[in-house]
Each structure stands twice: as C-alpha cells, then as structure tokens.
C-alpha cells in the first residue's frame, strides 16, 4: 500500500530498446471513417504504398507491409464494434514503395496520415489552433501511469521530433514553443536539449500530464477553462515524431505500443494492422483482464484479435484482484486533496477531467474487477 498523498506512482523509464513484432501473415487495415480503398482485391502492394484515401477527415492510409490485398471484409475492432477493412496478405519480402514526399505546406499534415493518441487527426488539431497561436506545448510526458510511449518517442526518435517541430514552428509561428518533460525523464531531457524549443520540467505526478493541466501550468491558461482555440496547443511528442518521420519519407505504418502490467512493462514496435493478441504475446505479458489505454482512464479491450490502429499506444494487463465491497463515504476529503481541478467531488459540481485520481485514493471505494466483468 502506498501513501495516498503521493498520488498514483508515475513514470516507467525506457530501459530496453523496443522489441520488434515478428512478421505477421495477415494485416488488417480498418476503414472506420468510410475511407475509399485505392487498391482492389488481388492487387499487389508494397510497404508504404497509399492504399486508401480519406473521406470525412481526409487522412490517407498506407500499407505497413508488402504483399497482396487478400480481401475487403467487415472486421471486428479492438475497442468493440466492427467496420469494413482491407486485409493484406504479407509476402514477407518487405518490398518498399518510393519514399513519401510531402508538400511544404499545411497539406503535409493531412497527407502524412498522422493521428493523435485517441484517433483525432493531427492536422485537425493544428489547423484549428493555427490562427494566432500563442504557445505550442509538446508533451513528452505519458498521460497514464505504467506507460512510456511518449518518453520513448523523444528518447528514440529525437531526429524525427526535430524535423516535425521545425515544420510546426514554421507553419504556426507560435510565440513560444515549450517541451514538457517529467522530472524523472533524464534521458528524454537530454534528447530534448538540441531541439528548437524551451524544455520545461513538470513534476511527474498523475494527472499533471493532462493537456488541460499542462496548458494551465505552462501556457498560462486561466484555470478551470478548457483550452481556447488559437491560444494554447498541446501535442504529444509521439505524434510530432510520427509526423517528422513522414516528412523524412516514412509514413506512419509502424507504431510503438507500451504493454504494461503491475510489475513490468514492454515496448513493442509493431506494424499497423497487426493483431493486438500478437503484440501481447510478444510482450510476454501475464494473463489478466485487458485494457486499451492506461489503468486510470483506459477502457476494456473487447477483441484481443482486433488490429492495431492509429490511436492505440498502450495496453494494460490488470492485476487479478479480489472483490471488495465499498463502504459509505467516510468524508475523509482525500478526493478533494488530490483533485487537479480543485473540485469537491462530493458536491458534483465544476469542470471534471475524468482523471480518476479521486477514486484511486478513496478508502471507501469498492471494486469488482473480475475478468468477465472487465471483458464483457
């Protein structure tokens, strides 16, 4: 048991290089937003080839492996639900297409196909914030305990981050560009030193890495207000790195996934569309209920065979735990003490970030995390 007022223990360092996922025979590329396929069943594809064009938010999709298009079929997604998907048969030859060439204007953001964790296009966030941006904050802090994808993005892809950051600075002309690094992320701070931005150290405490809290603490956003358009823009460093790599010729066809459990974690470098079950196997994770995202705000993983899609950067294996009945609220006030928004949760008023810190420290909270209940 940890002292409650230390909060949720944060920060697992990137200690080992990421493991590359072995070649997968079948790659599933879902088209959840009605993207138009540019290839037909039976067509050969090469790695990095543009295989679908966006419709609603016009982000293209690139083939992560070389091979043939095996089918265009409805497939189940990891988060639940299903949609039309391109299924590629990997030929194992890894034939590369021509390197991606992006225009030197705003269209590059759309053509790169980069999405933020959660699935929102990077281009959309940037274009909304573009006019009169005051502060651009790039966050190298992981949002959730146990995970280290953001830390890894800065430590391992510093070149790509530099390229992406240079482009964003050129396009957006922010008055200040800040890079938020957790107090314990020494390697990341070293990697950030040569970048064209001011490195700011933030205490490594959950949930201070939340974009809104970063915008408040570093961007001088008035507390309690959601970030206003055109004032402060907070971007995760992993998205900046992916965009930088696209500028250098590699579209976002691979993604690092942090698989974490109570006593360990692994960083897996996997192609988009690989089944999550293969990633879990490569991580040698223990058995247990699975989550998409982190243990504080994640959601149940419904189909472990679902494909890796942009936006999935972390998976969690929950510890097996016995059922515990809660007690009535004993009015200890810990929830208010840890609330980053200075709310009094028992009143149920004010703006809530849904960070879960209050429930984490609540001595009266009960839980029933049996495997069935989490999975169903």
């Amino acid at each position: 048991m940890l002292p409650w007022n230390r909060g949720v223990p944060m920060g697992r360092a990137v200690t080992t290089p990421p493991t590359s996922l072995p070649q997968q025979e079948r790659i599933i590329l879902p088209l959840p937003r009605g993207e138009t396929p540019l290839v037909r069943v039976g067509d050969p594809v090469s790695r990095g080839q543009r295989v679908a064009d966006g419709n609603g938010d016009p982000l293209p999709i690139y083939a992560p492996v070389s091979g043939t298009v095996a089918a265009l079929d409805t497939m189940e997604l990891a988060a639940g639900g299903s949609c039309l998907a391109l299924i590629l048969q990997n030929d194992g030859l890894d034939t590369a297409a021509d390197p991606l060439e992006l225009p030197d204007d705003e269209d590059a953001l759309w053509d790169s196909g980069v999405r933020l964790p959660g699935g929102r296009p990077l281009a959309q966030a940037v274009t909304q914030a573009a006019p009169g941006l005051d502060t651009l904050i790039v966050s190298a802090m992981d949002r959730e305990p146990w995970h280290c994808t953001e830390d890894a993005a800065l430590c391992l892809d510093a070149d790509a981050v530099a390229a992406g950051l240079a482009f964003l600075n050129r396009q957006l002309h922010p008055r200040r560009t800040l890079l938020a690094v957790g107090a314990g992320q020494h390697q990341a701070a070293q990697a950030a030193a040569p970048l064209d931005c001011t490195v700011m150290t933030v205490p490594q405490r959950y949930p201070l890495a939340h974009p809104q809290l970063l915008a408040e603490s570093l961007g001088r956003l008035p507390p309690g207000q959601p970030p206003q358009e055109g004032d402060v823009l907070v971007l995760p460093v992993s998205a900046v790195a992916a965009f930088g790599a696209a500028l250098q010729g590699t579209p976002p066809i691979r993604q690092r996934v942090s698989v974490a459990w109570r006593r360990g974690h692994a960083l897996i470098d996997a192609p988009m569309g690989a089944p999550l079950s293969a990633i879990l196997e490569a991580a040698a994770a223990p058995d247990g209920p699975l989550l998409l995202g982190g243990p504080m705000t994640g959601s149940p993983l419904r189909h472990a065979d679902g494909p890796l899609v942009p936006g999935i950067t972390s998976l969690c294996v929950l510890p097996p735990r016995r059922h515990r009945n809660g007690t009535p609220c004993i009015r200890c006030g810990r929830c208010a003490a840890v609330c980053p928004m200075d709310r009094q949760p028992w009143l149920g008023i004010g703006h809530c970030l849904h960070c879960g810190a209050c429930r984490y420290v609540c001595p009266a909270a009960g839980y029933t995390p049996s495997k069935e209940e989490v999975l169903l």
């Binding site: 409650w4 929950l318 007690t327 008023i349 001595p363």
Partner: protein
C-alpha cells in the same frame, strides 16, 4: 469497480480505522500502567460492548459495519475518556450508547456526532459530580484524577506521531485547535497556557477526537474554523472544571454546528452552480 480507474491505492476504511486504533494503543497501555487492571478491564469491556452492539445492529438492520472496524476506535475512546474512578459498567454503557446513536443517525458516514464523544457526554449526568470534584484547580491536576486516556501526554504524542506517519492526522484541525487552546488559556485569568497545551485532554481532543473523518468538516476552511472553535470552547469548559467532559461537549457542539453549516453551504453552492448553467 467496473469503470476506470482500474487500479486503487489499497487504502480502505477498515485499514484507516485500524490505524486510528493502533494510534490509541500507547495511551491505552499508559492507562493500564497507571491505573492497573481496572483500566484494562474498562478498555476490554468497552471494546467488547461496542463490537457486540454493532454486531447486533448489523443483524437487526442488515448493515455490514462491523467489518469497517470503527468499533475498535469507538470502544477504545469510550474507555479512555472516562476517569478511573468511574464505575466498571460506565465504559461499556458509553460504548453501547455511542454505537447505537451512530447506527440510529444513519450509520458510518452519516452520523453527525463523534460516537465516542457522544457516549461520554451521555454519561455526564451520571458522572458529573465526580467530574466536578476531580477537575478543580490547575490543568495538570488532571494527571491521575482525570480520564484514564489523558494520563500521559507523552504517550498521546506517540500515538499522534503514528497518525501523522500514516497520513491520518488532520493537521488543518489539530494545529488551529492547539493554537486556539493556548490563546484562550492566555486570555483566561489565572490560567497557565503551557499547562493547557501539556494537558492530555487537549491533545486527545485535537488529535484523536478530531481524527474521526466522518464528524469533522471536509473543506479546509471549515476544518480550520472547527479546530479554532473546538479548541477555544473546550478550554473554557475545562477551565471551569468540566475536565474531559468539557472537551466532549465542545466537540459535540462543533460537530452539530459545522455539519449544519456544511450542509447549508453545499446547498447554496449547488444552487449557485445550477443558476450559472
């Protein structure tokens, strides 16, 4: 829990109550040392009576409050707040009243009044002459004539240090409480402020009666005001000879006033928020 977050710090109501009971153990050991087997019998009888009462209420009303271990704290405090000269049945009777009133006013979390303080206050009519006789003169006179729990300030400090170590000591109440006691004693005629600070009753009120999260206010402002109010009033009561009785009466008055104020404040805040939307 079936929704996020899926991890928990591991703290529970029962563990918290167990810690509060452990913090009372040095004072309980001191009571046995100073007052012998009689004190040991008072402590055991009080805890047993509290547990038995809670068990019966749980059976009767379908609650599950025995496993929150609040009875340990209630039982120990019920005995520690009584003088050694009290009749042997006084401690268990106080504990039974404490637990019963707690259950009847809504059970853990809902009760307005500190159970142990309420049990002790209910015994005041029975013990009043005794209490008055005991507590005349200076505060340090309380040493062996007062409640068995206040015998050694040093042992109470050890318990308070344990509470602080486990992050259970309500600093926002205890510090204002002690300051208010000191200042009130300084204002009162023929009263030594240092003696008030060194009196075990002050520490018992500041660190242990106020460490009950249920009956102390939740917000920081209310906590500080609660500490100031209780510290000042209990010092005045004790100065006029009520001894430990003064502390419990002050605690109960503060419980009532501040719970009511908190409820009203919450209503007002909710209304203001609704009007904004």
């Amino acid at each position: 829990m079936n929704t996020a977050p899926y991890i928990h710090c591991g703290q529970s109501t029962a563990l918290q109550m167990l810690d509060a009971a452990i913090a009372l153990l040095p004072a309980a050991a001191g009571a046995v040392w100073f007052f012998g087997l009689r004190a040991a019998a008072m402590l055991l009888l009080a805890v047993a009576a509290a547990a038995a009462t809670q068990f019966l209420w749980d059976r009767f009303t379908g609650r599950q409050e025995l496993r929150t271990l609040t009875v340990l704290v209630t039982g120990l405090l019920s005995a520690l707040l009584l003088p050694a000269r009290a009749a042997l049945w006084a401690a268990p009777l106080g504990a039974v009243i404490a637990v019963s009133v707690k259950v009847l006013t809504g059970g853990i979390g809902q009760n307005w009044w500190n159970p142990a303080a309420l049990g002790r206050a209910a015994l005041l009519p029975l013990l009043c002459p005794l209490a008055l006789k005991d507590c005349q003169g200076t505060f340090l006179m309380a040493y062996l004539d007062g409640a068995i729990g206040e015998a050694s300030t040093l042992l109470l400090l050890v318990g308070a240090a344990y509470l602080a170590m486990r992050h259970l000591l309500p600093w926002a109440v205890a510090v204002p409480y002690l300051c208010a006691s000191f200042l009130t004693a300084a204002v009162l005629p023929h009263c030594d402020p240092m003696a008030v600070l060194c009196w075990g009753g002050t520490l018992l009120g500041a660190c242990f009666l106020s460490a009950d999260p249920v009956t102390t206010p939740m917000g920081l402002t209310f906590r500080v005001l609660y500490g100031v109010f209780t510290g000042a009033v209990s010092t005045v009561f004790s100065f006029y000879g009520w001894g430990m009785g003064g502390v419990v009466v002050a605690t109960l008055a503060a419980n009532t006033a501040f719970r009511a104020a908190e409820t009203i404040a919450a209503r007002l805040q909710n209304t203001a928020e609704l009007e904004q939307v």
